[in-house]
Amino acid sequence: MKESSLPADNLNRTVDLAEARSRHNLGARRFAVACLVLGLGLVASVVLATGIGRMDVGWGAIAAVVLSKLGFHTGALDRTTEVVIWGIRLSRVVLSGLVGASLATAGVIFQGLLLNPLADPFTLGVSTGAAFGVALLVMLGVGGSFLGLSPLPLGALAGALGAMAAVMLLSRESGRIRKETLILAGIVVSTFLAALISLIKSLDEESLSAIVFWIMGSFSGRGWIHVGFLLPYLAAGLALGAVYHRELDILALGEEQSHHLGVAVAAVRLKLLLGASLLTAGAVSVSGVIGFVGLVVPHLVRVLAGPSHGRLLALSAAAGALILIWADVLARTLLASGQELPVGVVSALLGGPFFFYLLKSRRSRGMW
């Protein structure tokens, strides 16, 4: 059954088309503006966050260091200032931004895929699974790197996928994944694995702070090498999200309708779960378990950008980066003693009440 697609003689229809097209373009323009605003906000945040810390560095020094690293000749720089700005602060700010982007996009994918507003890498136990994978490798003494890739993210990926599978199995009831039990299963798996991580660490006789690092998450002492660890995972996860965002939209209608519309449901779901697990594994392997970013950011962005996953993924990545950069600034400046808080503590303090709000709100029960 084929019809001529554009009846040029029908004025009404062409008016309709022009109107729909202009609305579509308007949406695209607003999206572009949102991207621009968030992008500028990100650049500003990176600079500002780099300037904040115990040692005062001027904006001029930051600009000079960045320019010199980009290959511009800027004259002599104080060695200490350069190390603080480039080696300590900027790398950490960039890393926290990338981790925020990873966790937020993983949250978007998990929420869309599982049709669950409370799903995110942390509540599903995937983050703790990844942390367990890393802890196991560290205990076994596997480290170093080959071909520029650290084995730690691979351990994290294995742990993330394992935890994901366990949660799916636990919440499955007669062939269907129950929405209500999904998060419960995530918490069970997460609690159990957190206990195992503690066990591993005490067997390994490491300091308590290291345990806290994996369970609460922190960027303390992280640098460019970790940015390198994370980037391939972030890129792969984002690419999977970008390629399959339309399928995510359709999957939000449920399994049957997705099938009717021509989505190869099982295969696409597997790829997207892999994408979200890659994002989580990359993030956790460099920063430990940081909760609530993946939960809160997609909801905030959805209010502004609507339900379409293409836009949701892009804007959530940027917003997640923004939020975690500032959460980490709080983590390292909040205590007057100059001691650092784990950034996971800050994100949980900010995100916990939001989680509660979601549980209570009509939105999460009625609409979706």
Partner: protein, 277 residues
């Protein structure tokens, strides 16, 4: 011939629902699938849509086994309007209808004018054009169902499967949808298969009827020949007469009250109550 069903057995875990199905559907046919509750109408549509793999036998769609068709190709040929659709994300109705273009769109391609035209045309046909910008979660059940029908039409399918798709619509909207389906089947060669409960709506629009009962096809033939009191009584175990409207000559089923014997249990229950007190 667009659909051929050969020696088909259908069922779920350890339970056969339909057995020994053999039939063909030609291009442009308008087939109503009728039968009492639980007779297997929905199961048959599930299988024809590719959701439920056959226990035995084959479903051939356009000379290809249904199970062997890649998902996107299958969705270009076959569209489905399910019984009810529950959308929880606030997509606009136009976005929902545009999802019908998914099997035709390239993976990373942008939205083309042809896609938009198809979506708008389908919305006009189902009188939902005014809902374009409304979020699907805010429209009424009947409007939502028509949006889903528009989405199925936007798939530009050759076969349309409807499972009780108009049950939630009022009389006028029901007739509008069936007029549209009739138009599409007569002028565009769309093959329509709909499972339904409304006998008279079926008699009015379907040119062929298939009655299913107890997991078997009781009778399958042109509406004029099979829409008879004897067959209706047998299938529904209900006293019925078929009259003809003097104007348009379509058969019309009239239900009669059940015979008094069917409620004889009531006396026994009253006796039981009396004994208790």
């Amino acid at each position: 011939m667009v659909i051929r069903v050969e020696a088909l057995d259908l069922g779920y875990e350890g339970r056969l629902v339909l057995t020994g199905l053999n039939f063909q559907v030609d291009r442009g046919e308008f087939l109503g699938i009728l039968g009492p509750n639980g007779s297997g109408k929905s199961t048959l549509l599930h299988a024809l849509s590719g959701l439920l793999p056959p226990k035995k036998g084959r479903i051939i769609v356009k000379s290809e086994p249904l199970g062997g068709l890649p998902s996107r190709l299958r969705a270009q040929i076959l569209a489905v309007v399910p019984q009810s659709t529950d959308v929880r994300f606030p997509f606009s109705c136009l976005e929902i209808v545009l999802m019908g273009r998914y099997p035709h769109r390239r993976r990373l391609g942008t939205l083309t004018d042809a896609d938009l035209v198809w979506a708008l045309k389908s919305m006009r046909r189902t009188t939902t054009a005014h809902l374009k910008e409304r979020p699907i979660i805010e429209v009424s059940g009947g409007e939502g169902q028509r949006v889903v029908i528009a989405r199925a039409l936007a798939q530009d399918p050759e076969i349309l499967l409807l499972d009780e798709a108009t049950s939630s619509l009022d009389v006028r909207k029901k007739l509008e949808i069936f007029e549209l389906l009739k138009f599409m089947s007569e002028t565009r060669g769309l093959t329509v298969l709909c499972a339904m409960h409304d006998l008279n709506l079926a008699a009015l629009y379907c040119r062929r009827l298939m009655f299913i009962k107890h997991g078997r096809v009781v009778v399958d033939g042109p509406t004029d020949q099979v829409f008879t009191p004897a067959i209706l009584r047998e299938v529904y175990e209900t006293p019925m007469e078929v009259v003809r409207h003097p104007g348009h000559q379509r058969p019309y089923a009239v239900m009669l009250p059940l015979s008094p014997g069917t409620r004889e249990d009531e006396a026994a229950m009253e006796a039981l109550e009396a004994a208790q007190s």
